[in-house]
Amino acid sequence: MTQLALVIDLNVCVGCHACVTSCKEWNTSGWAGPLTDHRPYDKDPTGTFFNRVQTFEVGEFPKTETVHFPKSCLHCEEPPCVPVCPTGASYKREDNGVVLVDYDKCIGCKYCSWACPYGMREIDEHQKVMKKCTLCIDRITNETLPEAERKPACVLACPTSARLFGDVHDPDSEVSMAIREQGGYQLMPEWGTKPANHYLPRRKTRIQIFEDELERANNPLRKEAPLPAAEGETLDDVSF
């Protein structure tokens, strides 16, 4: 069975919010829209978003790391928000595992938002229904779009390719490989919700160079030719 999901690489995310704005742009004018704003140019601006990027400082100054943390619906395999819905407006698609809200059935009782431990659902103050990330269901299932564009807006917008999209149940997919090989993890696994979205941890990449690797070990005279810079100006220095 297919379970579409995002894999977000925290090692690569620079916190530029391009995913937030592209998500808002696509979804406010699409199937899941509008994502209304309140007081957008005033004091205390607020509004409905499917995706937000938060920033954390890990460690104690000066030995800190800044972690930008994009959060959106995790499309759990055991979504706790679905069974609590009294109307059946909240549902998980059988064919691709995306958790969605039927705006025509939602009564806006907010019970699903209480049941979501991740705080991923938001009521739209204008439409008075519960809204959440749809994984751009209107893009990814739209067969009139070219194959390469059948991805969520946030994935296409990410300038650092920190967001991967695919089927986490297919062991050969890009996302499954990333999870497997780069330590992908789920958020709050202790609740048994089995989030489909995964995160890739921060990791340090260091090249280890040993002294003997700087000079050729098989150089019989142990003598390297002088570097070009030592011989005065080269062609590279005078040309531009």
Partner: protein, 341 residues
């Protein structure tokens, strides 16, 4: 938590309505067993049912105000297989129907025994309806409480104590209202209902105390570390990802100061548990079960339950860090002393 006032009114008022109906049934069953004098069908049982129905109707009416789309409320009966909210939506009208029919049967005096069990117990239509209504009333307590108790992520609520609290507070306020109603009606049942009200209030006090203690000692399963999956002891949020608050900051944090919360905490403990019992004692001492005293006993019961819901029969009134998954992330950088109300 920052629940809508309509939800508080709903759970409080229907709890009182259920309690009052259960009190009426208790009275009827006791009189059947010749432990109490039988009461007048019209002025006591029919009027009492009508009063109970008023509470249920007002509660139901209030509940519509927390919905984004009240016109679609009928849809909420659909998922009774999985959702306790849906079950409540079904049980509440069933209970209201039974209360109405019970009151109507009493009003029209259709109390001729239908059959006699073992030559002693005369079973009439009101008794059958009353027992069915009592079952529905308890089912409704369970449904209402399970809406909160079934959410395992809100660990303050996820406990059998939530169920016990809901039932006991409903019974306590319902029996107090029954005592006041008897006083107003001039019926000699004030002592009977009043005594039960005190017992239920005391029991509710014990279970409330237990849940407060449980919440104080609660060690939350989730931490900021598991919420974002970064294994480091020191994590500090620097940005929420928005400036003027979001649905999460409005819905899950009440924004009251610690001082206010402490005040509410003590206020409700006194108003709910101490004051009703003192007033009851005073009325007993004065030997005058007048209406004012009766009302004085009821009002704190009702108001108290509202406060109990607000600040904690279902949650903690103690400052609890909002260690609730990613919700921490929403406000951690602005205020880390918010609590769940």
């Amino acid at each position: 938590m920052h629940p809508a006032f309509s939800v508080i009114f709903l759970t409080t008022l229907i709890g009182v309505g259920q309690g009052l109906f259960l009190a009426l049934i208790t009275g009827q069953v006791y009189s059947l067993a010749n432990l109490l004098q039988p009461q007048d069908s019209v002025s006591f049982y029919a009027m009492g049912s009508a009063l109970s129905l008023v509470f249920l109707v007002v509660g139901l009416f209030a509940s519509f105000f927390h919905l984004g789309h009240p016109e679609r409320a009928w849809r909420s009966a659909a998922k009774w297989r999985t959702s306790w909210l849906s079950r409540e939506v079904i049980v509440l009208p069933v209970f209201m129907f039974l209360v109405a029919v019970y009151g109507a049967v009493h009003y029209f005096g259709l109390t001729k025994p239908l059959f006699v069990v073992q030559g002693v117990i005369e079973v009439d239509a009101t008794l059958i309806l009353g027992v069915l209504g009592a079952i529905a009333a308890f089912a409704l307590y369970v449904c209402t409480a399970m809406i909160y108790a079934s959410i395992k992520f809100i660990e303050e609520w996820h406990s059998p104590l939530t169920l016990i609290n809901f039932t006991l507070f409903g019974l306590a306020s319902g029996f107090m209202l029954a005592a006041a109603f008897s006083a107003w009606n001039g019926v000699d049942l004030v002592g009977f209902f009043g005594a039960w009200a005190v017992i239920f209030t005391f029991a509710a006090g014990v279970s409330r105390g237990l849940s407060l203690r449980r919440n104080r000692r609660l060690v939350h399963k989730s931490t900021l570390q598991t919420a974002i999956g970064i294994r480091h002891n020191q994590i500090e949020q620097k940005a929420q990802g928005f400036m003027g608050g979001s649905f999460n900051t409005r819905e899950f944090f009440h924004g009251a100061s610690i001082k206010t919360v402490r005040m509410v905490y003590w206020f409700f403990l006194i108003v709910v548990f101490v004051l009703p019992v003192l007033l009851l004692g005073a009325s007993h001492w004065l030997v005058s079960p007048y209406l004012p005293v009766g009302l004085c006993r009821t009002v704190p019961g009702v108001a108290g339950r509202a406060l109990v819901f607000l600040c904690g029969s279902e949650t903690s009134a103690e400052p609890v860090l909002p260690v609730h998954g990613l919700r921490i992330c929403c406000t951690a950088c602005t205020n880390n002393s918010f609590i769940f109300l």
